[in-house]
Subunit: 406 residues, 2 copies
């Protein structure tokens, strides 16, 4: 049998999706699984935009231009302007989700063996994209005690060796929900400018800030026109993950021109998704206030429930829709699998994303998990009932197991 | 300013799309451009399937499973069975076009620096994917004199050094339209088996064979279950290029499991596209006979027109919707750009794909171009009127230019 490549055999597996076979088995066995593992909201995609796609008169579903449908790119600055960001259609290249944009930017800006500097825990898929692009991630570790606030600029500066080509942030942060203050972004911008490296910022959760720190886009950092590359997506903004439409936004057109070569190789982003995305720009602002209110309530519920569980360390996240909490468990992977394989309460269980997959530093995150508060309050409450009981049972079983071993 | 990566700066540019800015400029100037550069058919996407997407009641446009929507994967074997191919849903992983599947297979099966063996001219984007995956393409050159038939097995065997991990074919062939006979595929399969390497086959033009050589799928090669990986797409089959839905099909589940890791990193293929793809499986077989008849007429028209032009070398291709012809020109890139920048006939011009971009051997294809016969007969005739005149004018201008130089 021909061999699999070593890189393929050793490739990063998504902590968000890799337990899916166990979840599928649990569902097949008739159990209800609460999916808190994945940022797939239950919020409705704005119906008016969906309706517009339905009534579009398409005769031939053509390739779009590689950089995106022209009318969509031309309309996008409207959205950015409403969010206080001044960009032109030429600053925008449409991608298949933010995912593809991140991967293309790594190819366009970093050579093999070069490094990006990123706070950890980090969105696990960055690790996958870095592997695909054959670049390294050097992590600057954040801690749960500060609610995963950014480390000091001095910490970043210390990690900044000549092979570092970009500082890479996710703001508001996936997986921690931290929102980075303008002052911190300005300080990091200065550092990037001083070393003449890129500042990559994944801003797909831009709309979702609930705390006192207002969102500040890296696109509004003065003097950083050539250094800032922002990744964007309609997935979370409009609960339209399946559209697979994102964008790279940068005033550095050399970066965009280089990315365009990769974009041409894959031909085009999905046409239906782009039609939806274009219609979504007209979404009423009331949609966001309703959705934000909903997420804020869910966050509070989740925070309150987790805080009440003995041995759980938690904080109140300011943005996105994630909490990264520490549980009284020995091994998050084992626990998350156990939840799906061995645990049931009223024929229900919970799926979580093991925390270690969000760190690049070996050994970190072993007791942590990511919760996505993407379900309605009743479901979230049920999931928390499951979790509270599961933690008790798991601890009891592990103790028994440990005593047997002795 | 931070630097672009060297790989980005030197990245392959698509010969199919790279002249697009010149085409856009020509259109802006009011000229009609006949696009024979790109395999974007003007054939209608089956309306019944489009209608089904319109009437689907989607409330939340969710991520699909990374390997594709379950109901679509489960229905796909119907399509393959109708085409004499026996596969299960587990043999299929849905991708964003064949493009993504090819790239993922390179990552999963080849380590950096390893090689695929492919006949050239080859589909230019393979070069881009190979670069992204950091693998080499070693080409076995076909010639226009034989209508770009496959070279002998001995030619492949000679090129088969230990770093070769796969033979990679496109059948029916893009860009040449050659259809490979069963006997040749069996011989190459034997070679692959002997060296225990993969046989990758891009079969996205499966339906489009007009000659005496019937299509033979690599999935029907006996004893090759672990070696054959097929790339597929709905783009050409149903004229649905913008859907961005393809698949990797293989009975080697280690390959699919490894690809799934990369697929999970990019989350999911587009949901709307998959809904369309699922509905398209029910497309009446009459659709294909109508479409095939149409393409065959266009092929004959194109072949007849090209053959009548002085100095043009051409052949009658058996499949897909391309002709790769040799023109009486000095430099195909220069000529194709000239067509868009400097030529006009009744305020019309033609866009072609320069042939050199389809070769990896430097210097080859300089006088060749790829024609995609994706336009209706009237448009094709107009395009050929333009080309005939353009060739005359270009030759005259070049002669003048040359004499000036002397």
């Amino acid at each position: 049998m021909p061999t699999i490549s070593s890189r393929g055999a050793n490739a990063h597996t998504s902590p968000i999706r890799k337990l899916s076979p166990y979840a599928d088995a649990a569902k097949k066995a008739g159990r209800k699984v609460y999916h808190l593992n994945i940022g797939q909201p239950d919020i409705q995609t704005p119906p008016a935009a969906l309706q517009k796609v339905r009534t579009t008169d398409v005769k031939v579903l053509e390739y779009s231009p590689s950089a995106g449908i022209a009318s969509y790119r031309e309309k996008l600055p409207e959205y950015y302007r409403r969010n206080g960001i001044d960009v032109t259609p030429g600053d925008i290249l449409v991608t298949s989700g933010a995912s593809e944009g991140i991967y293309f930017a790594l190819l366009a800006c970093l050579d093999r063996g070069e490094t990006i500097l990123s706070p950890e825990p980090l969105y696990a898929n960055y690790v996958g994209f870095a592997e695909m692009a054959d670049v390294h991630i050097r992590a600057v570790t954040c801690t749960i005690e500060t609610g995963f606030a950014l480390p000091s600029v001095a910490d970043f500066a210390r990690a900044l060796t000549p092979d570092v080509k970009a500082i890479f942030l996710c703001n508001p942060n996936n997986p921690t929900g931290a929102v980075y203050p303008e002052i911190m972004l300005r300080a990091l911008a200065e550092l990037a400018l001083e070393h003449d490296i890129y500042l990559f910022v994944d801003e797909v959760y831009r709309e979702f800030c609930y705390g006192e720190t207002p969102f500040f886009s890296a696109l509004n950092l003065p003097g950083m026109e050539n250094h800032v590359v922002v990744f964007d997506s309609i997935s979370k903004r409009y609960s339209a993950c399946g559209a697979r439409v994102g964008a790279v936004v940068s005033r550095n057109h050399r970066v965009l021109t280089t990315i365009l070569k990769y974009a041409e190789t894959r031909l085009s982003p999905p046409s239906f998704g782009q039609m939806l995305a274009e219609a979504l720009i007209d979404t009423d602002e009331a949609y966001f206030s309703t959705v934000k209110k909903e997420y804020k309530q869910r966050r509070d519920l989740l925070y309150n429930r987790l805080s009440a569980m003995p041995g759980v360390t938690c904080y109140r996240p300011d943005g996105a829709f994630y909490v990264f909490a520490k549980l009284p468990i020995d091994d998050c992977e084992r626990f998350c699998q156990w939840l799906l394989e061995d645990f049931t309460y009223n024929n229900q269980t919970v799926m979580l994303a093991p925390g270690n997959g969000f760190y690049t530093t070996p050994g970190l995150g072993k007791q942590e998990v990511r919760f996505a508060y993407v379900l309605n309050e009743r479901d979230l409450n049920n999931a928390m009932d499951c979790l509270a009981l599961a933690l008790e049972r798991y601890q009891a079983e592990m103790k028994i197991e440990t005593s047997f071993r002795v």
